[in-house]
């Protein structure tokens, strides 16, 4: 009896320590800029060094409109002409949740048709080997749907898949990952689990709203395997929230605190010690900045938790948000490569 109990304890501890490492990781980046004509030299060099061959490129966003119902905005200017390259391009469309409020099935049919049309049109600006000439064969939809818009969004996804005939993936926040009963499971071929931005940037003054490990881990406490193939998206960016007269005024994408113009006060907070100009914004002495950075250590910790708690398939895509030479200079190439390789170790 004692032996049986001992065996059970050993088995349980083995199960709890299981690592769901992937056998193979496809290295990818998100590309989210609207106004860029193409990949800059340092970004191109980074992709080559990392052997990252997959690019999730935001083609446009969709927002509601009083007259047209819904319209595309923030359209990409991105062009990529290199037929010898082996990049795989996955167009991404960000859809505001409001698009799926108060709309008819007919208008969703039209929307799916329009989205497919515009993606196909912009796809002509991308000439790559794309998996040796197969063209674009996957779309990804990005929407923070809610229980009230779930049905419309899922209907739209079904329709889009049918119209386009493409593989369809969508982004998946941690909330719908955990609460599938309430949020449903989107009718797509795969989902990209977005392991960042768990907290609204202005909601918590103390936590890192890009990546808070405790918060993140809490969402993974689920005992059911998510019914879709999961890929993983991780953040490699930082920002600073500027507060003037204790009121939020701007997000700064450059690091304002590394010089001598700010002093650290508490936790993530800094205070301007002299007037200074950052990103054409006039910051006055006494203004406060919350500087949120994702460190390489935090990323490795997150990957450890993912491997522990999410049953990964043998082959997954790991995509980093986002390809921006200025932001990525905070990491060495080796540190970024480690993010990909950590999933297979």
């Amino acid at each position: 009896m004692k032996n049986i109990l001992l065996l059970g304890i050993v088995l349980l501890s083995l199960i709890s320590c299981t690592q769901h490492k992937a056998e193979h990781v496809e290295r990818a980046f998100y590309y989210w800029k609207n106004n860029s004509w193409g990949v800059r030299e340092k970004e191109d060099s980074l992709l080559n060094n990392l052997k990252a061959k997959k690019l999730y490129i935001k083609f446009f966003e969709v927002e509601p409109d009083n007259i047209f119902g819904s319209i595309p905005t923030a359209k990409t200017n991105f062009h990529f002409y290199d037929e010898d390259s082996v990049y795989t391009i996955i167009p991404v469309v960000y859809l505001r949740n409001e698009v799926f409020k108060k709309c008819s099935r007919g208008s969703l049919d039209t929307l799916a048709d329009n989205v497919d049309f515009l993606i196909s049109k912009y796809a002509a600006n991308f000439k790559t080997g794309n998996g040796r000439g197969r063209g674009i064969d996957e779309y990804q939809m990005d929407c923070d749907w809610t229980p009230s818009t779930k049905d419309n969004y899922f209907y739209f996804l079904e329709k889009l898949k049918k119209i386009s005939g493409k593989k369809l993936s969508c982004t998946l926040r941690l909330y719908p990952y955990k609460y599938t009963d309430k949020m449903g499971v989107p009718p797509v071929d795969a989902a990209m689990l977005m392991c960042y931005n768990l907290i609204h940037p202005l909601d918590d003054k103390d936590k890192n709203t890009i990546l808070d490990i405790d918060e993140f881990e809490g969402y993974l406490d689920t005992y059911e395997k998510y019914p879709l193939h999961l890929d993983i998206a991780l953040p490699v960016y930082s920002w600073a929230q500027l507060y003037q007269n204790n009121k939020f005024t701007a997000i700064l994408y450059t690091d304002p605190v590394s010089g001598e113009n700010f002093r650290k006060t508490k936790g993530l907070w800094y205070e301007a010690v002299r007037d200074t100009m950052v990103n054409d914004i006039w910051i006055r002495k006494g203004d406060k900045v919350k500087h949120e950075v994702v460190t390489k250590e935090a990323l490795q910790e997150v990957i450890k938790i993912i491997k522990k708690k999410i049953p990964l398939d043998d082959t997954i895509t790991v995509s980093l948000f986002h390809l921006d030479g200025d932001q990525l200079k905070n990491y060495s190439h080796e540190e970024i490569a480690r993010i990909y390789t950590a999933f297979t170790e």
Binding site: N66, I67, F68, G69, I71, P72, S104, S107, N114, L118
Partner: protein
């Protein structure tokens, strides 16, 4: 050998044409001679149909909503408010944004609240709400198909429901109009047609709302004769839609097919107006038709002006400039001979005679703008060269309007000048005042000069040509040639150099040299030629070309010594080439022509001496 010669000639001729095509060449309205333009401001709502070489006149469409006093929609609202509010307050309430609150300062809104006319206030609110839908949008999804918005369909349905529920017939009609207009912008012409036919067709009396509704219904009409008839009625009654509605009128159809839809003579006249507006050639028959059906038509006056503008282009553009009329593409007229040009002018003068016959038949008491017809008659008499008839007719008139007097003055000045004997022509005294008054009207000044030149007075002609120094007029010589690269002139000096005889230049120099000033007219007249040295320079050069070196030298000697190094023929031809300044003249080659030609003359004399010959 013959074949290759022909080939080379063909090649060269094609190169010449290409050279023109890639070089500046005057075209269109810049060539046109137009003196009958004093009445243009009388017809602001036809301004885009002024005679022009462009498809439509480059005039901003007159926005009559900017003037609430004449806006028929505002007039309807003022009437709706029992004339208790001003047109300005009605325009503010109708066209400006949210003023509908009870506490608004706007008189019309206050009045509607006071009268508890909430139906009218609701209508205005709804009309403003749907305003953003009354526009054709580019498809934001970048599709070639026009965007149809389901939201607009909802507004159409709402307008129809409100129309059915409205008790006031005026508001009912306005709601139906909103539905027709929304259907038009929703690319649903069938719906627009259906709503119009059910609620507006045949309604009398028709208001601007009816004609606006008709405009938005036209696109749904498949019978092009009927569509053209509708377009003509909108053109006649909704001035703000005139430009847009023109595209619905098919002027290739026989006029009778369109006129047969007219229910009365005014409607028939409206069709003829539209027909004449779209005609770039002779429109006399349409003018006659309009006069017969609706002699008081405002458009008749406008079309009369337009027909005169055509005629003066056809006759005077070639007559004064030897360019083709502007509506004939000059590139296609490369081979057109002067003979052909002038034959066409003869034909056009015959058309002017027909126009004159029509104008003579018009009862001036019946037309809206008798002064336009009077001025046109005077001009037509000039066009058919009945100069005495023209002058006596002008003398018989007592114009009340300033623009009529100006128009008649111009015609009189031209006529007095033309009505002189060859060799005895001068600038008529009566024309002097007009010339001073019109001194900025450079083409008019030029035309008077041209008349004088044709009558042998080359001196006064040159003095008048010299008034324009900004290259704004282009003209050719009768032989269509110049000594320069181009085949036309745009500067008096070049023209004198290319066409005037030494005798004519000497006469001009003598006149300029003799003039001592004092008379305001002559001060202006002689003021154009400021540098007599250049005239002597030209005269000397002309003598050289004739091998009359002694006279050339005498001419150069008359030049102020300081001006000699700046003469136009100073340039060394091997270094200073027009249009291709690719190298600089070495200093040692700079000469002055007096010394140069003294040496030349000496050498010539020596060689001409008999004992040296052979």
């Amino acid at each position: 050998m013959k074949k290759s010669l022909v080939f080379i000639l063909l090649l060269l001729s094609s190169l010449v044409q290409q050279a023109h095509a890639c070089w500046f060449y005057p075209t269109g309205d810049e060539l046109r001679f137009c003196f009958f333009n004093a009445f243009t401001d009388r017809y602001p709502y036809y301004s885009m149909f002024n005679y022009t070489s462009s498809y439509f006149a480059d005039m901003p469409e007159t926005d009559y909503t900017a003037n609430s006093g004449i806006d028929p929609n505002i007039a309807l609202w003022v009437q709706y408010c029992n004339y208790k509010v001003s047109a300005e307050s009605a325009a503010e309430a109708v066209y400006l944004t949210s003023l509908l609150s009870e506490h608004s300062d706007n008189a019309m809104i206050k009045y509607l609240h006071k009268m508890k006319d909430y139906a009218a206030l609701e209508y205005l609110t709804f009309a403003k709400e749907v305003e953003a839908y009354n526009i054709t949008y580019d498809n934001p999804w970048e599709r070639d198909i026009d965007i149809v918005t389901p939201k607009r369909q909802g507004k159409i349905n709402a307008a129809l429901v409100r129309a059915r529920q409205a008790k006031n017939p005026i508001l009912k009609s306005r709601y139906y109009f909103l539905a027709v207009r929304l259907a038009f912008y929703n690319r649903d012409p069938e719906m627009a047609k259906k709503v119009y036919d059910e609620h507006f067709a045949g309604k009398q009396p028709a208001t601007i709302i009816d004609y606006w509704s008709l405009y938005f219904r036209i696109a749904g009409e498949k019978d092009s004769a009927l569509q053209s008839y509708y377009a003509a009625q909108v053109f006649a009654n909704a001035p703000d839609k005139r430009f847009q509605v023109t595209f619905y009128f098919d002027n290739k159809l026989p006029l009778s097919d369109i006129v047969k839809h007219a229910k009365n003579r005014q409607e028939a006249a409206a069709v003829q107006v539209m027909y004449a507006i779209r005609k770039a050639d002779y429109a006399l028959d349409a003018l006659k038709g309009i006069y017969e059906n609706d002699s008081h038509s405002e458009a008749l006056g406008f079309l009369m002006v337009r027909e005169m503008n055509k005629l003066e282009d056809w006759i005077y553009t070639p007559y004064y400039s030897y360019f083709s009329p502007m509506l004939r593409d000059p590139y296609n007229e490369e081979g057109a001979s002067v003979k052909l040009l002038l034959e066409r002018v003869k034909d056009d003068r015959q058309y002017a005679a027909k126009m004159l016959k029509f104008v003579n038949s018009v009862n001036l008491d019946k037309v809206k703008d008798p002064e336009v017809f009077c001025a046109a008659k005077a001009y037509l008499l000039f066009m058919v060269k009945d100069f005495n008839g023209c002058l006596s007719y002008i003398a018989s008139l007592k114009p009340s309007a300033k623009e009529t007097a100006l128009q008649l003055d111009r015609i009189k000045a031209l006529c007095l000048t033309a009505n002189q004997q060859f060799g005895a022509a001068v600038i008529p005294r009566a024309a002097r005042t007009v010339l001073l008054q019109e001194k900025e009207n450079k083409k008019f000044i030029f035309a008077i000069g041209r008349e004088l030149e044709y009558l042998g007075n080359t001196t006064d002609a040159a003095l008048l040509y010299a008034q324009e120094t900004d290259y704004n007029i282009s003209w050719k010589s009768k032989d269509q040639r110049t000594p320069y690269y181009d085949d036309y002139y745009s500067y008096y000096f070049d023209y004198l150099e290319g066409t005037y005889s030494t005798h004519a230049v000497r006469r001009l120099i003598n006149a300029v040299a003799a003039y001592k000033g004092g008379d305001p007219f002559n001060d202006w007249l002689y003021g154009g030629i400021k540098d007599i040295n250049k005239m002597y320079d030209m005269l000397g050069t002309k003598y050289i070309r004739l091998n009359r070196l002694g006279e050339a030298l005498a001419a150069f000697e008359k030049m102020d010594p300081d001006s000699r190094a700046s003469g136009y023929l100073d340039d060394n031809p091997f270094y200073e080439m027009k249009y291709t300044r690719f190298c600089r003249t070495p200093r040692q080659y700079k000469t002055d022509q007096s010394r140069h030609y003294q040496a030349l003359d000496k050498m010539y004399r020596e060689r001409s001496e008999p004992h040296r010959k052979g």
